[in-house]
């Protein structure tokens, strides 16, 4: 890891990060605007709005959901579709990011990489999603199938809580390995021009071999993400951010966090590339 410098690689690629950020923002805004419209149409003239501005939202939101829930529920369906759509789009975006990082082409690398490798990256993505599904089932299903029995028969629930903790840890380890494997697969695909299946196989092999050494850096990234999440939860509560300007400031902070998260992803890609074996 040498030092923390690798974290800042993404910050230096502002154009690329901002492009990706704008794509994500555009998608999210379609939901955000509808949320605005629905709330405005439902309770837009109510004094209760003051309550949600100040954070005393529980009863306001409950009544809103009880009375106008029908107009909000289609949005949940839309978010589901949006996530699915973004899964496809992400194959393009991540291929573009990898191409830029590998070929150091910050001008047009993103669009070139995205268009050339989109199909193959979708395939790689699907392979890893299926792998995740299978491995998750292997980890969780035996536990869940026994859960009801244990609830009635165990002396105490403490082993269940620890068991869930242990499985969560195991599952996280699997997720990290799959993430690393999926990254190296793309490196082998784009840098070394391997076929999809060979790059996936080699990616998995690399992951098994290398993840342990990459762990400090990956943990550091994870730590930064957790800090960002905690920071947001912390300031989200601040009364000072409930004025009109405060609400805008909060939005700007939220968007900066999102931007940082994209740049961290780019930094991680670059870091993994530097640790990749040569052709």
């Amino acid at each position: 890891m040498n030092n923390l410098k690798f974290l800042f690689y993404g910050f230096g690629r502002k154009r690329l990060v901002t492009t990706i950020y704008l794509i994500q923002l555009t998608l999210a805004v379609t939901i955000g605007l509808q949320v605005y419209q629905v709330i405005d149409a439902s309770i837009g003239h109510s004094v209760s709005l003051e309550g949600i501005r100040l954070g005393n939202a529980h009863m306001v939101i409950n009544d809103l959901l009880n009375v106008h829930g029908a107009s909000l529920s289609p949005l949940i369906g839309q978010v589901r579709w949006l996530i699915l759509t973004y899964l496809l789009l992400a194959a393009f975006i991540h291929a573009g990011m990898w191409y830029t990082v590998i070929h150091r082409n910050e001008r047009s690398g993103f669009w070139i990489g995205g268009s050339i490798y989109f199909g193959r990256c979708v395939l790689i993505g699907i392979i890893f999603l299926v792998l995740l599904l299978i491995l998750s089932a292997i980890i969780w299903l035996p536990f869940l199938s026994k859960f009801g029995y244990w609830m009635e028969h165990l002396m105490s629930e403490a082993p269940l809580v620890w068991g869930i903790g242990a499985l969560l840890f195991l599952w996280s380890v699997v997720c990290v390995h799959l993430f690393v494997a999926s990254c190296y697969s793309r490196i082998y695909l784009i840098r070394d021009k391997m076929s999809v299946f060979r790059s996936v196989l080699k990616g998995i092999k690399t992951s098994v071999k290398k993840t342990i050494f990459l762990l400090p850096a990956l943990m550091l990234v994870l730590f930064v993400l957790i800090v960002l999440y905690a920071l947001h939860s912390f300031i989200d509560d601040w009364r000072i951010l409930s004025s009109s300007i405060g609400i805008i400031v909060l939005f700007i902070i939220q968007q900066i966090i999102i931007w940082i998260k994209i740049s961290l992803r780019l930094s991680t890609y670059h870091y993994l590339l530097t640790k990749a074996e040569g052709v």
Partner: protein, 668 residues
């Protein structure tokens, strides 16, 4: 030899004292009888844990306080609900009852209670048969009728001696056994029904069969319960421990315990070798918490909730008259026996490593403790009028929790803050059909939404009454209800009468309609929803054209000109069918506020004004006294809405969607 003689004399003395029922522990604060002590029980059982069974004797002393001569008695035999799938409790429920698969039950998983012998004053074995007063299901054995040899005259006393056997089922609900020798004996012995006047004034046995959506009912009395058990068990239950685990030398490894409870309507107990005992006191009350080792860290939280409940009731309703409170915090394998109330004995439900910010387990302790007042001291018929206990208990649970833990009483976790009363109100207002049933009906008639109607709507009504009266007068009303009805079986009329009186004494906007209000909310399914749907402000025009000034014949021409006044109007609507007079607050552009009262009768009500200022906002019931209103958001209308709140949520949803798409695509 001398020593042995002393032993012999002591033993003789002890056995003599035994017979005279001398008591060494004090179950209540006073030695006087608190209740009429109609049904009294002396129970002596031998607990064989290998079979999850008790066998023994039960001597019932029952007072006939009716004007009738009693020729037969009826007893509850609750455990027979779990004897087979044909009981009224289990039939029609399908094969899965409360998560228990009936098709998989082994012979030892079923439970029952049976009277082997019943004699009256040393006479012959009495004729007895199961009866089914509610549903004529001949397979149901939850009510036993015993024909008496010598009738009990008005004012007379019945002495009935039973030999009985109770076998616990593997727990389906409340009563039963679980793994690791967990045994919960509640509703476990033959128990007298209540001989009383129905609402039409006719005397008779009120002894319903045990149906699923139904709880319990019994007369107050004294209990003297002796249990012989294996020494490995920790025992706990109603009343005080007169003798606790005294070794029986003649029976190696067996111990005897004796519990005394006075002026209570029931007796329940638990036996498990895996419970730790924690003791604490609050004023005169000895609190004994039985909890599994894994819950050690949760103990202070549970005890604090119990002690706060005791203090709150002392201040706001009446002092807890008993000297003991036993709390069972069930282990995982006994969780089906949790969440329940018995006299001076309650069962909670907690979970290892439960986050501190989520206080549902504290709320549960507060709820079950509150039943000591509503169900136990005020022993309403839980079967026929469950709202009088569950609804009142839910209301006090909310009050106590908010008093103890503040605004975010129920949850303050990861930015999610919930107040108990708001949560309860939402359980009612979020019902798919809030008109599904009136409140004041027997439990078995509320099929859907039992919780939302019986618990939550009732609590929301009480919250409404409290908000109209103010805390001081509300407490005054409830104290009167408590004092007047303690150790009796209060009914709806007893409560309604006191509410009417208090609203009469302390006039407020609801007072003139309180009688109709109570009918509408208790006996009807009316829903309350008032709204302000519009505000308009337009500039008033001075009279224009030929105008007769001051009613004189001379006409003057006045050309068009604007006045300095605004014509303002607000449109108020009654969207529900509950009619309540309302306080209305209007805010004006100069910052002033004015108040109005609307009788709430019309479906559309227009307020019109001509003032030099514009109408900015109108709010119905600004102090949220009418907690029953199912939608607070439409209670107000403002021409200057605070759109910041909407933006806050729109921005927040953008942020979370961005996070969601970033995280879910981590492998793409």
């Amino acid at each position: 030899m001398r020593h042995c003689l002393t032993c012999f004399i002591l033993l003789l003395l002890a056995s003599n004292l035994w017979g005279q029922v001398s008591i060494h522990c004090a179950p209540t604060r006073t030695t006087e009888a608190l209740s009429p002590r109609i049904a009294n029980y002396k129970i002596d059982v031998n607990f064989t844990h290998e079979e999850h069974k008790v066998t023994g004797s039960e001597d019932i002393t029952w007072h006939n306080v009716s004007p009738d001569t009693i020729y037969f008695v009826r007893l509850y035999m609750y455990l027979n609900a779990f004897k087979n799938s044909q009981s009224s409790y289990l039939s029609g429920a399908g094969l899965n009852v409360m998560g228990q698969d009936l098709s998989n039950r082994k012979p030892e998983d079923w439970g029952w209670v049976s009277v082997k012998k019943a004699v009256q004053q040393g006479g012959k074995d009495l004729t007895r048969a199961y009866v089914q007063p509610d549903d004529n299901n001949i397979h149901d054995e939850s009510v036993l009728q015993i024909e008496l040899d010598s009738p009990v005259l008005p004012g007379g006393i019945l002495n009935l001696s039973l030999s009985f056997e109770s076998k616990l089922p593997r727990t389906i609900a409340r009563s039963g056994y679980g793994e690791h020798d967990f045994n919960h004996f509640v509703h476990w012995y033959p128990k007298m029904g209540v001989y009383e006047q129905d609402i039409d004034g006719n005397w008779g046995w009120n002894c319903h069969q045990f149906l699923r959506q139904m709880e319990f009912y019994g007369d107050h009395g004294n209990y003297d319960v002796t249990i012989e058990s294996d020494q490995k068990f920790v025992l706990g239950g109603s009343g005080c421990r007169d003798i606790y685990k005294e070794t029986l030398p003649e029976k190696d490894g067996r111990v005897v315990s004796r519990f005394i409870a006075h002026d209570v309507i029931d007796f329940g107990w638990v036996a498990s070798p895996n419970l730790l005992e924690y003791e604490d006191t609050w004023e005169h009350v000895e609190i004994r918490l039985l909890s599994p080792a894994a819950h050690h860290n949760l103990v202070p939280r549970l005890l604090q909730a119990a002690k706060h409940s005791l203090s709150y009731f002392k201040e706001h309703l009446g002092e807890y008259p008993y000297n003991t409170l036993t709390i069972l915090d069930p282990p995982l394998h006994g969780l089906r026996s949790g969440f329940m109330e018995y006299p001076t004995y309650i069962t909670g439900g907690s979970f290892y490593a439960f986050p501190k910010g989520i206080r549902s387990m504290e709320s549960l302790i507060v709820h079950e403790f509150s039943h000591q007042y509503f169900m136990q001291i005020l022993a309403n018929n839980e079967k026929e009028e469950p709202w009088l206990d569950e609804g009142f208990v839910t209301f006090y649970e909310d009050c106590i929790m908010e008093d103890a833990y503040g605004d975010a009483s129920l949850a303050d976790f990861l930015g999610y803050r919930v107040r108990n009363s708001a949560f309860t109100r939402n359980e009612y207002t979020s019902l798919p059909n809030p008109r599904v049933s009136p409140i004041a009906v027997p439990g078995w008639k509320v099929n859907d939404a039992y919780k939302g109607i019986i618990y939550s709507k009732t609590a929301t009504i009480l919250q409404t009454l409290k908000r109209y009266l103010g805390e001081e007068h509300f407490d005054e009303m409830m104290k009167e209800y408590f004092v007047k009805n303690q150790f009796t079986h209060p009914r709806k009329a007893d409560f309604v009468e006191i509410v009417q009186k208090e609203f009469d004494r302390h006039q407020n906007v609801l007072s003139p309609v309180i009688d109709q209000f109570l009918i509408d909310v208790l006996d009807d399914t009316k829903v309350c929803d008032y709204a302000v749907t519009n505000i308009t402000n337009s500039i008033a025009i001075k009279p224009t054209g030929w105008v007769n000034e001051d009613n004189k014949d001379t006409m003057t021409f006045q050309s068009y000109s604007r006045s300095d006044f605004f014509q303002s109007s607000a449109r108020l609507e009654r969207k529900g069918d509950l009619i309540v007079p309302l306080e209305i607050e209007l805010k004006w552009s100069d910052g002033s506020t004015t108040q109005e009262v609307w009788d709430g009768i019309q479906t559309v009500f227009l307020l019109r004004y001509e003032k030099p200022v514009q109408l900015i906002s109108v709010e119905i019931d600004p102090k949220r006294k009418l907690f029953l209103d199912i939608d607070f958001n439409n209670n107000s209308y403002t021409t200057e809405p605070s759109k910041g709140g909407i933006w806050k949520y729109a921005f927040r949803s953008i942020y979370w969607v961005q996070n969601a798409i970033q995280s879910t695509s981590f492998l793409m």
